[in-house]
Amino acid sequence: MRLFGKFALVGAAMAVSTALAIPASLAEDSLYLPNLAYRTGPFAATGIPLMDGQRDYIAMLNARDGGLNGVKLNYDECETGYNTEKGVECYEKTKDKALVTQPWSTGITLQVLPKSNVDKIPILAPGYGFSPMAEGKIFQWAFNPPASYWDGASMILKYISGGNLDSLKGKKIVLLHLDAPYGKEPIPLFEDMAKKHGFTFLAIPVGVKEMQNQSAQWLQIRREKPDYVLMWGWGAMNAGAASEAVKTHFPMDHFIGIWWSGHDGDMKTVGEGGKGYKSISWSVPVSDAPVMQDIKKYVLDAKVNTIGEGEFDWVFYQRGVLISMFLTEGIKTAQEHFNAKVITPEQLRWGLENLNFDEARIKALGADGMIAPFKTTCADHAGHAGGWILQWDGSKFVKASDLLTADRDAIVPLEQAKAKEYAEANKPWPTNDECKM
């Protein structure tokens, strides 16, 4: 009897451990979607509205539709504080049951990029990360829809040159950038374009500790007298730069940031002084869009989640919504293709390689006017959607241009070269030879 008792105990322990070992996604018939979020630390102010938007779109789908095809979506945040080491810890902590990795910083993306080949979990880095990740044949597991940083840089150049980049000949363009992998990302493209089109390019770095006191950088700008200042800024750096631009008398309409430098929360601290500042953006806030109204109805008014005052109308909150939409569309595409409700990370990869945000689908999703159409393939993991220039009117960002698209003919050779260079430097690097596109 005593022996039987021991066996029973061992059996029970094994049963419990087996149950624990089953991925949560299978056990609860839900899909585990971790997000390496940052709601704390020096960049929290920019992280919060983005994460809120992501979280609330998922919450809306759960409340309105019961998840995706009857499967609940288990959105979970792991706090990184925008710190690369903590980001890697979060990746390791969540990878066993994760359907996707959302690293939320170029630094973290670069760290988990080689791991994705081993762990076979797709990395979803919308509008950020390493630009050559768009090369799907080389970066099989990484996705940066709807546009890469190099696309953004190209769109800005197209905008300031009126479509003819040769007209920039003899002009001086400064890139004011955060001294971090993210900030340095567009430099190769700008250098390449400067050589081709004869403009002078100068990169001015801003250290994290100097974000709020950029007087030295703006003194340099005053001395260099550039025609345009472009900005790859993040967090407090954006507001710090705008304040200094006002002080330096730099014409605000010649000051243009990338999409992460167009945050209402940052510009509100500058207010009227920042009037005229521009930012390229692949998303446009449309608060009365059906998807936004559904979030309001099912999540905010129902008090499922709460957000800050005015945040609902912000560019970043609504961009967060779109980012989750990319993920859920990838899941839905995979569910339909594989005829499965609970999908695997490998199947999600297929879904993300077959995103089709055409006009009809965008409208069906209730996001009409919020984003330009794009499509991904196994060879193109970005989709290269267009973007618009948004301009700060003193209280909010308003659309200030027609749809701009990147000069892909100029970018592709550089993208391919840098992707190959990366694969070469990280040998053996598996590539997707099955992709025949």
């Binding site: 929290a44 770095p205 709020q212 407090a236």
Partner: protein
């Protein structure tokens, strides 16, 4: 030869050829210096009286600024919000003394230092819980701090002086003067200095350790509020303000951890020299962003000759 020209001749010829620009560089350096000195002062005061390196000074700046803006957003008039924030900083000082410092009396310095790291994490979490992590606008205008600019046109160029920066320089000057008078002319000030000199001797003549610690942490709270207002006016109030505390470290190395005068002179020296170096040598020759390391190298050179810092006390310990 060309490099020698770039290092030894060109920077000075640039200074002479554009004197208005040089004036702007010096002014901006002075403003940065005053702001660094202000942060360093918070560290010095606490170290002077208790030998604790207060790791929490940076988060105290954030906490004070967030409290001020939080009160204002709750409908409290601006000046009353300042008074209420000071009251909160006082309560914080009392709480730190009761909960953290008192139980750790007579513990090694490193234990107290670790305790201040604990205070930092607590304030980060508590601050985010109460105020959220969003960027907030400093109530500069409501506090009647001017926000325009004075512009001069010397030597055919222009020099722009932000009225907010000017107010910061004047305000910091007044704060430092009051502090120096308080430390040297009042009974409590002398008690703080006595504690800094010798804990046991000070205790033996009846100086209350707990009272002095509360006062010192409260003064550090006042300095944190002033720093938060000044820095918050530049780029908003958010947890990003915490990182500015790191700018005080080379100031402390340079000026010495116990010297109020050292914090001021060290702050000003680093502010001005790092700006001059960045503009005339760093940007043309090293690709810029030398401000991230210049102050540390500068302090290191000083430490080679004066290990106790420019104004620090030479400590001789009998073994």
């Amino acid at each position: 030869m060309d490099l020698a020209y770039q290092i030894l001749v060109k920077p000075f010829s640039d200074m002479v050829s554009a004197p208005d620009f040089l004036m702007q560089v010096l002014w901006d350096g002075l403003v940065s210096g005053v702001l660094y000195a202000l942060i360093a002062l918070g560290f010095v005061l606490i170290f002077k009286s208790s030998r604790i390196f207060n790791f929490a000074q940076g988060i105290m700046v954030v906490f004070a600024a967030l409290t001020l803006v939080g009160f204002y957003q709750a409908g409290v008039p601006a000046w009353l919000a300042v008074l209420l924030t000071l009251a909160v900083m006082f309560v914080l000082a009392v709480a730190i003394e009761r909960v953290v410092l008192r139980p750790l009396v007579n513990q090694p310095d490193i234990i107290l230092f670790m305790a201040t790291i604990g205070i930092t994490y607590f304030l980060v979490g508590f601050g985010e819980f109460v105020f959220g992590g969003e960027n907030k606008v400093m109530i500069t205008e409501q506090l009647h701090i001017p926000t325009g600019t004075f512009e001069f046109k010397p030597f055919g160029g222009f020099v722009s002086i932000s009225q907010t920066d000017l107010t910061a320089v004047i305000g910091a000057g007044i704060l430092v003067t009051v502090l120096l008078v308080f430390l040297s002319r009042t009974k409590i000030g002398r008690a703080i200095r006595a504690l800094g000199d010798d804990h046991q001797a000070a205790l033996s003549v009846g100086i209350s350790l707990s009272m002095i610690w509360v006062i010192v942490w409260f003064i550090a709270g006042i300095i944190a509020l002033a720093t938060g207002i000044v820095w918050g006016a530049r780029a908003g109030v958010s947890f990003a303000l915490e990182v500015i505390a790191y700018k005080a470290l080379p100031v402390l190395m340079l000026g010495g951890l116990e010297s109020v005068l050292g914090a001021i002179v060290g702050g000003l020296a680093i502010g001005i020299f790092e700006k001059l170096f960045e503009i005339y040598w760093g940007q043309p020759l090293l690709g810029g962003n030398t401000e991230t390391w210049f102050a540390f190298v500068f302090a290191l050179i000083v430490l080679l000759f004066r290990p106790q810092g420019m104004f620090g006390e030479k400590i001789i310990e009998r073994v």
